[in-house]
Structure formats: C-alpha cells, structure tokens
Symmetry: C2
Subunit: 536 residues, 2 copies
C-alpha cells in the first residue's frame, strides 16, 4: 500500500548502502534509533538492510515486525538480490528471507550492465532477464510492492543500451513500479546523466528513480539533475555516508529540492528538523559531524570577518542563499546546541518518565543540556547519561548513587627500561565502607576502570556482569582550547557498557582525557545501578 | 606574460578564498609551503592572498618577490577590490598595494548584482562600472594581467541581466582577459548554471571563468558543468576548503576534467601526485584529511566485503570508476602511506642534506617513514621530526642528543575536594649530570613539559628562548585500536615550538597520549639543539 505522498519518493538507504561506509557498525539498537529519526523527518521509504544476508539486518526486521518500530510516515523496505542464476525463485532461500522480513516493500538489485552479467554473475543476458522477472513477480504475488535497483545502469547503458533497457522492461513486466537507475561506480557527471535519464524516461515511460555515488563528488548534483530530467524517486543516505566516497547526502538533496526547486517532498515542518536529525544520525554512527556540510553543518552559514561581514550587518539576506532557520540551523559560529524542548520530551517518554504538567522542570532540564552541549557534551549517542540527567532534574532518581568517589590517582610511568606502566588508585565510599584499590592497565583509562571495578565488585553484586564494551575518544577542535597553548583540548569520551543483556552508552567531557573518561565511567555504573533497582 | 598552458586555466585560491575557512590560520611559512606544493602539482595560477588588506598576505607577496618562492609552473596572483566609489584609482591605497605586491597577475572582485551595488557599496550602477573600468585599466597600464571576479554573478544576472553583463563589458574594455562568473552565495544547481554560462558565452564572446561555492553541495558539479558550457578557467581550493560549506575541490575538479572529460589540464605526471598533495595540504592546514574524499581519500577506492568484493576479485575494473594509481591512490584499505622516494629526496634537499649517490640510505629512510606512517605517524606537517629521522638514517646527526631520558612519571590526582592536579617528575641525564625535577601543570602534558624544562634549563642555555607555541592532538580512528576495547586509541600529537626567530613542528604517535606528547617534545628539543650546534 502506497504511503500518503506517493508522487515523489524520498528513499533513504542509510541502514543498507550507507552502512557500508568504513568504520560504521550499527547494532540493532542503533538501527532502530536511526529508523525512528528518519521516520520522524518524514522520509517515505527506509531501506532497513539485507535480511538473510546480514544477521543484524535479519534481526532488525524481526524486531520491527514484532512491534519495536512504529513508523508514522515511512514504509520499511527490505533490500536483496534477484534469484540466483539457474535456481527457481521459490527455491532461493535469499528471496524467501526477503518475504520473511515482512517488509511491505522490497527493492531488488539486478545487473543492467552486460559485462557484469557475463563476468560477475557468469550467466547470459536472457537468464538475467528471467531472474529479474521471476523474482519481481514472485514478490508481487506475495503482496509486496517492488522496486528495481538497476545496478551499473549508466555504464551499462553506454555499453549496450538495449541490454540495460530490457532489464528495466523485465522488471516492470514482473510488476515493479519504480526502476531506479544506479550510478554504482559513481563516475557520472550531471549534464550527461541528465541526458540519459531524460532519454530513458522518454523511451520507456516508466517511473524512474535515481541512486548516485559520490566518486566524482557529484552525487547530490547528479541526483538533482536526474529529478529535473524526470526522476521521481531519489535514493540517499544521511550525511552521504556510504562506501568509498559515499552516497548522495539526504539533507543536501532534500534541502535543494525544497528550497531551490520548490518541491514539497517532506511533510510540513520537517525541513526545520534537518540540522538536528543530521547531527543525531552522526552521533549514532559515531562519526564527527562535518562542520562544513551543506545546509546542516555548524559552519554552513558562518561568515568570516572581512568582505562579507560588513554586508551581513547591512542585510543578512545578501549573503545567505537561504534563511538558516528554515533548516534548523543558524548563522552563529557555535557548536551544535540542538537540544530542543520537543526532543527532551520525546526522550523523557522513551525513558518511561511521566512529563505531563512538568513544563518548568523540562525547561530547566533543557537549559542544563544546552549549557553542557555548549561545552562539548553531546547526548545524542549517550542516552544513558541523558536519562540520568533528566531523572536528576526531575527528581526521579531513587536513592543515592551506588558509590561516591573520594579521590583517584592515575600514575603513568615511563620507566628507565623504556616500559610504560599505567597504574590507578581509587578511594571510594560504597555500601557504608571506605575502600581503597589499586590496579594496573594498558593505559591510564584502562587502569582507572580496573581499579574502580576492583574496589566496587565485592560490594555491588550487579557489577559482575558489567563490562566496558567500547570506548570512543574525540578531541573537540571546535571548542576553544583551554590550558597552555592548547595542551588541554576539550575531550569527549563515550563509553559503551554491557551486562550481557543490554547495552548503554554514557558520555564524559573535560579538558583532561582521564577525567573525561572518569565521568563517563561513573555514569555507566550509576545507570546500571539505577536500572538494577528500578524495574523498567 | 601568460604561462605555458594558457588555453585552460587551473586557478587555485587555497591561500585566499580557501583561507577563509573557520579554523584555518596560515602562517607566512605555511603559505609559502602551500604555494610550492600547488606549483609542484602544476596549477596555472596561485591566488596568494589580498595584499594591503591582510598583513600576512602582504608579507607573503614581499617574500615571494624577494626570491623566497620559486615557481616552475604557476603565476602568482594578487587578489583585491576595485577602487572605492568616488575615489580616483591612483589615490586608492588598496589598489596601490596590489601593484606593490609585484604579482604579475591581479584578480579584481567587483559587484555584478545591482542590489549589492546599491545596498552594500551604497553607490549606483554607473559608478560601479567606472570603478571596474578604471581599476582594470590602471593595472593593465602598469603591466599586470588582469582577471575580473564578477561577484554574485548568477544571482545578479537573474535579477538584472543587463547590469551583470555591463560589468563584464566594462572589465573587458579596461583590458581584463578573463571574466569569472562567481556563485558567491553558492545557491546554484548544475543544469541552470550551465544554461547561464552558455548564454553569457554566446552573448558576449568573452573568455569566461567559473568560481563556485558549495552551499548546495554542487560546487564541483557546477564547475564541471560550466566548463562543458564554455568556461575555460576554473577557480578551486585544495580539498574544497573555504568559507561556509567551502569551495570547489581542486582535486575533484581536476580529476573529473582529466579522467572524465579527457582534458589535459595538468602537466604530464601531475595527476599521479593528486593524493599526496591533497594530504600534504591538509596537514599544513591542520585539518584531518577526509577519508571519503573523491579521488584522493584513503577510502575512495576501498570496497567493503559483500556484493562488491566478489566482483573485485574477478575484475577490479568492474567496480572502480578509474584506476586508483592514476591519481596516486590505491585500493587497499590503509592509512596514507604517501611517502615516496621522490618526496624524501625533495625534503632532504630542503634540509640541506647532500643525497647524491646515497640511494640505499634514502631507500632505508623511506622504509622507515612508511613503517611509521602505517602506525599513524605523519610527517607532512612535522618537518623537524622528518629532518631528525633523515639525518639519523643518513648518519648526519652531529654528536649525541642534548639530553637522555632516564624516566618520567606523570601523576594525575582527582582530589577529595574535587580539584584535578597534574604533576610530573623527570629524571634526565644532561651535560654529564643526572637531574631530577618535578613540576605541576594544567594537565599531564603541560606538567611534563614544565618538568622537562625545569630539569634542562640550567644546563642548556639555548632552551631559554624555546617555547611551546601550539599543541595539536588527534585520535586516529582509522588505526586499529590497541588495548582493551579501544581504551588506547592511537593518538598523534603535533607540537609547534618557537625560539622567537623560527618555528618548527615535531610529531609523536602512541597509544598513550602522554607518551605521544613526550615523543613530540623530545624531538622538539633535539631539533633545536641540532640547529643550535649546526649552523644552517
């Protein structure tokens, strides 16, 4: 069943194609969070992954089907391949997995470049056409809506236009209602691509989509050019994340379509959320936001002094290509202070907090978050720290913290034999006692974590299952450096902890990396303690 | 006098427009280094800055004129504005400064949007035309080649095409031989921009250039589209650095022109230097290279496992839009190991080392550099560390290091009153003695630096003038994390030192931030000591 705005498709593949970017590794929890953010923005389609091929993707669809993902705007899409050559579609387990995902929409990728058909698939053009037709029809017969990703389309069309077009025909005959022309190798430039798109639209009359890669640094431009040439379905990823040079950036594409081409491709009010959503998705991906990203970067509207500043004082519109607030951004050169009242309320509800009638407290929590964010704190990917903060502001924390720190000392020895030894001693108050413990580690933070654990374990039974799963450090260069000549750049540490059943992330920010780590570790244990005593 | 390849202009404005990027602050030394790199790549024009308006730019041109900058390919360009309204050109000191710079080429920026003429300049269209004509002619009469930057051209042309075109005419009548259409606000999209460029070329017959900003994420695409529509002069910056969302990336523009449009816009062999030069310029700017940058990013040709990997094994050409080695890149997912024999030799000569007939030693120095670079070391911006390494490999270090470290200890106390205290103790051997010194600091690194200084100052007189000028830390996320669950991410520290006369930068890399800082500090002092004893 088509969604409300079926005339133009904003199709996001952050969770599938975008997830192929080096360094990205989404947990299933991450994927659900990403999907919710995209849905909140109002995209029409969320390609959630490749069920059957990637275990975390299979699980993601299962949890979505089980009700863990409520989508208000988007339809979930399962991505997969046409049946294998020489195999009957009903016997192909990968195709079955697409059905099992229960996604209402399926996108199938098929070769549309003869050289790929012959060399990569090792089959012939005719079998390839049958593979396309069979698989599309099979899924249609089972009630799915089907799109076709025509892989390597532009290269294939240049090499053998007939082959490429017949692949599209085969899909449409099988029941696919959008054929997406993919610049898989990313080598296209806008003028030539637009010509090809216009030609295909004219020759076939099919509903055409576009999927661009950024290898020539033209992905966004190519996508827009394709729309101007007749495409009505655009495939993008958040912040252009993707393999190699990446994909077309969802936010730039949408920003351009709405503000330059006057196309209302998102629900009312969604455009103003662009900046916030871009940053939130970057945090989940654990990638530093690109401060110079079009539309949403924190520097996107920041003009340096000089030629422009005098004119801006006269008339800001003289130098801004759009009004920054339209995309939720602004002209000030500040770090992201993206916490808005609405998102605090949203978060609170996620944490099971009852916020009805508590406007003042929510307001003060918001102030606290903004204050911290201006110093480099970021809660987008540190839900557990945010929950602790909210509960504290709302006086919803039951009981005292599980332990109190009296002091710690971290010693780093570069010994005369050249060996580097890290040792930490903590003095804490726990379960009514004062405990001192010392431990060594691979480095100062590891030593501190080990000492803390040593001190607390005998007294806090739940600590036994808690483990440091991941540790991320980022130097915040956009923050003014404190200390002498920058030796204490503000550092943000994210700690992901696990107890075998769930994972939670906490954050710490300080000019000193060890202290920043301490803050994140402390919150990690406080959160576990809170959950251990508060049934959720 | 026009350069050898005057048919097509590759015009770089890294040092002027690109320098307006937030966070960039080039010293004069940096500017000279940037210019040499760009010249080595073979660009036709290097816009060096705005003499008269910015002191460091004035100094840069002065040093270039004094012989500190030898250009093999490029012509140096001074950027500036047309004379002020109501002032005679010969009386305008800013225009005189352009002449004084002695740059053979001058680019003048002029308003071509009527609204800007009236609201920002507060004058009328006629006076604006006289300002353009007078200034161009004045500079031509003084033997300069003149280009015109028509600011806000596309917006201006859409608002009042006649005004915009008359500005171009006025410049050409004055003697300008290229009129550059600037998308100053960055709001253009490729198809519309190409139409406008074609129209202007057709209506005027002038030689047209293009200057794009990246606010719609289309700067590169717009630049290429403009060339296809008749522009023969492209203005870019290294890595797209610039104000707001940045400028058109020189490397993507050149990569596209050469490999997609078959235009030989660089000297033979230059294309293969693209990746190395891109990274070197990033280091000088102290900006982390974009691993996903088109053509030159370390991930630009890195394919993730899955759909593509199997095909790559079959045929790499099936999935690469170009051969990576053509731009000096490769398919392996590795950090940049860009040190090539040629650059080592080049560097050696810069350091005053005689490398004739020392091929084996150069080879082993290269190996050492590559080995270190694979672990996260980068010497592009740490010339002093590189010089020490080369001299060591070539046995060109006179005498022993100025001091030897026996051990150090750094203690970080988070005290019971909440205060964070950092203290360091060093034990060193210097001037035949064993010295122990302890000092405190704002953080562990500052404390270590203070303690070292305290220990050495009484024994090394030259240390008195040495100061820590800048300290940069970067966590190298592209390196496999060592230690437990990432608590010891490889950290790179760059230390810039000064003695009041010169500045030098050293680097240290280690899983432990304090040890990484130690290595950089040690090199900083060793380099000063070497210079103090070796007259250069």
């Amino acid at each position: 069943m088509a969604g409300p705005n079926d005339e133009f498709h904003v199709y996001d593949t952050t969770l599938r194609d975008g997830a192929q970017r080096e360094g990205i590794s989404y947990s299933v929890t991450d994927k659900l969070a990403v999907a919710r953010l995209l849905d909140g923005l109002g995209v029409g389609f969320i390609e959630g992954g490749w069920p059957g091929a990637l275990p975390k993707d299979t699980e993601f669809f299962a949890r979505a089907a089980a009700g863990d993902l409520e989508l208000a705007h988007a339809q979930l899409v399962a991505f997969g391949a046409t049946r294998r050559a020489g195999v009957r579609v009903e016997d192909d387990p990968q195709v079955k997995a697409l059905l099992d995902s229960q996604a209402p929409v399926v996108t199938l990728v098929a070769k549309s470049d003869l050289r790929h058909v012959e060399r990569a698939l090792r089959t012939d053009a005719e079998e390839n056409l049958r593979m396309v037709h069979d698989t599309v029809k099979f899924l249609k017969d089972h009630g799915r809506r089907v799109f076709l990703d025509a892989e390597h389309f532009f290269d294939g069309y240049a090499f053998s236009p007939d082959t490429a077009l017949r692949v599209l025909e085969s899909a449409v005959e099988g029941g696919a209602d959008v054929v997406v022309l993919c610049d898989t190798n990313g080598g296209q430039l806008p003028l030539g691509l637009a010509e090809t798109v216009a030609e295909v639209v004219e020759k076939t009359g099919f509903r055409v989509g576009i999927h661009c890669q950024d290898d020539t640094s033209c992905a966004v431009a190519n996508t827009i050019a394709a729309v101007q040439a007749g495409a009505t379905h655009v495939q993008c990823t958040a912040n252009g994340y993707g393999e190699r040079a990446g994909n077309a950036d969802l936010f730039a594409v949408v920003g351009n379509l709405v503000t330059k081409l006057g196309m209302e491709v998102l629900p009312t009010g969604a455009l103003a959320e662009l900046t916030r959503v871009s940053h939130a998705l970057a945090e989940i991906a654990n990638i530093a936001p690109d401060t110079h990203q079009a539309y949403v970067g924190s520097s996107a509207f920041a003009h340096k002094a000089g030629l422009h500043a005098s004119a801006i004082k006269v008339d800001p519109e003289l130098y801004n290509h759009i009004v920054p607030e339209a995309v939720g951004n602004d002209m000030r050169v500040l770090v992201t202070e993206m916490a808005g009242r609405a998102s605090i309320e949203l978060k609170g509800r996620e944490f099971g907090l009852d916020l009805a009638g508590r406007g003042t407290e929510v307001g003060s929590a918001l102030q606290r978050v903004k204050e911290l964010e201006s110093k480099g704190w970021s809660f987008e990917a540190a839900d557990a720290s945010l929950e602790l903060l909210l509960r504290a502001e709302l006086s919803e924390l039951d009981g005292p913290p599980p332990f109190a720190l009296e002091s710690y000392r971290v010693v780093l020895d570069h010994r005369s034999d050249g060996e580097i030894v890290s040792e930490a001693t903590v003095k804490v108050h726990v379960a009514g006692q004062r405990v001192i413990a010392t431990a060594e580690g691979n480095g100062p933070v590891h030593a501190l974590d080990a000492a803390l654990r040593k001190a607390l374990l005998p007294h806090l039974s739940w600590l036994d299952t808690v483990e440091l799963a991941d540790y991320k450090v980022r130097i915040l260069t956009e923050h003014p450096k404190q200390g002498m000549h920058g030796t204490d750049a503000v550092t943000r540490v994210l700690v992901e902890s696990t107890d075998g059943e769930r994972e939670w992330t906490t954050v710490g920010v300080h000019g000193n990396i060890v202290e920043a780590s301490w803050l994140a570790l402390r919150d990690a244990l406080a959160h576990k303690s809170m959950r251990a005593s508060t049934p959720v």
